[in-house]
Amino acid sequence: MVVKRISGPLVVLVFWIGALAWLLLDDQYQLFLAPRFGFLIYISLGACAVFCISLLAEPPGSGKDQLIKGMILLLPIVFMGAAGDSTLGSFALSKRSLTVAQKNSETGPVLGPVSEKGGEQDQDAIREISLAHLVRNWDKYNGRHIRVEGLFSKTIEGHDQLAAVFRYFITCCAADAMPVGVFLDSLPDTGDTDLKDNDWVRISGRVVMKQLDGYDIIFMETPKIEKTDKPAKNAAYIFD
């Protein structure tokens, strides 16, 4: 009797309930969505549960292409599992511009770095800040020594001599991720460490604004770089 009530839609919805519950465990969904959109997962879970109950009460008739429909609907679960605990990294960076300030032609001349004296003064007190804070408060840090953490990328698309330390700004979901960070135009002093793409690093040095392809970009001069542990599962993302 119970077996007769099992239908393609019911099986798909049960799998989805499992997947959505898994996403809620340990806030796994934050690898895909901004935390404030967590309610979307609850809505999906609720709707799937309600649909399941209704299908158990009123099983649908069998239709054509049930297997294809069901398998396509299950595909995202496979890909979510395949993504695991990964976040967007340097490959995604290669397909997106590092977001910084306004286009140069509209903002006038690029601000120059602060005087060497000012730089020397600041060197004594290197401030550890977040990349988000740096980008949002750029005016405060131009020409100063700072320390930031982020993902490392050995090269930049179209500029093989440049490296970058970056994270992603996320408004809603990983699909709208925009990288933010600093460019490194000299090979950083890495000590004995062999740095690879997507390694987590802590980097310190003086930040200045320079032009690249007509855009104002934040560069870090004479950076010192050290490998560090990933601060959190979704640390690659800065949620707006």
């Binding site: 393609g8 609907l73 890909f79 993504a83 967007l88 990983a174």
Partner: protein, 346 residues
């Protein structure tokens, strides 16, 4: 139990689609099996999952709402509510999104149900195109994204509604329901229209309320199963494009306002963002010097036409109608934005 309805004839596009879906499924499984640890695959998986997770609840809510329309809204009631005159009905339906606040992922199943209940084609198109833009949630998100710039939020609604009405009227003038709708979408006897569905609740209005609720939910679930795959395939294609095509490529060609409008329209189709979230992305282009007309093109076109929507339209419309709709929407949005750009020069 009453005998189930005879399955309606299937169109050629669905049969072709069946093979394409099988091919898509095989390609996806092959990709997952052989490239699982590559950076490209991981990036793709994250973006694909993100797009699906963002759209999924709206899709579910849309089919849920569609189920309630199926069971609780009779054809007679719907036709009584709408103005008799077709043109007036188009105007009213362009604003229907205010009381049916659904985004573009959810609106397709709702429109499908409305059409099955006898809503005139042009009115359905006006609701389909205008609904996700006049949606109060979308209006609010636009306001927030543009730091409470009321003019931007109202401009988006105004342009969206004008385009939705124009294309609705044009559709009524140029195409008949037979030319525009797939056979089972045009099924209007008020009964259940699911392929292979044996429910009788769509006809029996005298059922107890509880049973009706259960029937509405069950209909929603079957609808979700029926058209959810189009959302998945659309998200898959969009994620592949987002993974492989550099965004810089769009920005590089966006030199000058008209090219910028075109580039942002392409981006809107490719990115497949939810209408409740797209304003934030559009606003993020402001610092790059993107003109308002181009940002507006992104916000108006996105809820009307993107890859996943085109795929979802396959569940409702004929190929001819989809081409007609896509062409009209693109042309109207482009012309409206050119007008907006030129108005700013004056």
């Amino acid at each position: 139990m009453a005998p189930g309805p005879v399955p309606p004839p299937r169109s050629g596009i669905i049969d072709t689609g069946r093979y394409l879906q099988m091919f898509f499924l095989a390609a996806a499984i092959f990709m997952a099996a052989f490239h699982a640890r590559s950076d490209v695959f991981i990036t793709f998986s994250i973006i694909f999952s993100a797009i699906v997770l963002e759209a999924f609840p709206f899709m579910l809510l849309g089919t849920l709402l569609g189920g309630f329309v199926e069971v609780f809204l009779s054809q007679e009631k719907l036709l009584r509510i709408l103005p008799k005159e077709k043109k007036q009905a188009v105007v009213v339906c362009a604003f229907l999104g205010i009381i049916f606040p659904v985004c573009e992922c959810a609106i397709v199943p709702v429109v499908r149900k409305f059409i099955q209940k006898g809503m005139p084609l042009g009115s359905a198109v006006a609701f389909l195109l205008g609904g996700p833009i006049v949606n109060p949630l979308v209006f609010s998100s636009t306001l927030v994204a543009y730091s409470f710039a009321w003019d931007v939020a109202f401009l988006r609604v105004f342009i969206g509604v004008v385009i939705a009405m124009s294309i609705g009227l044009l559709t009524d003038a140029c195409l008949s329901k037979k030319q525009a709708l797939l056979p089972f979408s045009g099924h209007t006897d008020g009964g259940c229209s699911h392929v292979g569905c044996t429910h009788t609740h769509g006809i029996d209005q005298n059922r107890p309320f509880g049973k009706k609720i259960m029937a509405a939910l069950s209909h929603g679930a079957v609808d979700f199963y029926d058209i959810g795959r189009f959302l998945i395939i659309g998200a898959f294609i969009a994620a592949a494009l987002q993974t492989l095509v550099p965004r810089q490529a769009f920005m590089a060609i966006a030199q000058g306002p008209f090219l910028a409008i075109t580039a942002m329209m392409v981006l809107a189709v490719v990115l497949n963002l939810c209408s409740e979230a797209d304003a934030f992305v559009a606003a993020s282009f402001q610092p790059m010097g993107m003109p308002l007309s181009a940002q507006m093109a992104f916000m108006v076109l996105g809820p009307m036409l993107d890859i996943k929507l085109i795929l979802m339209y396959l569940a409702v419309f004929t190929r001819r109608m989809i081409f007609f709709l896509a062409f009209q929407v693109c042309l109207s949005v482009f012309l409206a934005m050119v007008f907006l750009e030129m108005a700013q020069w004056l």
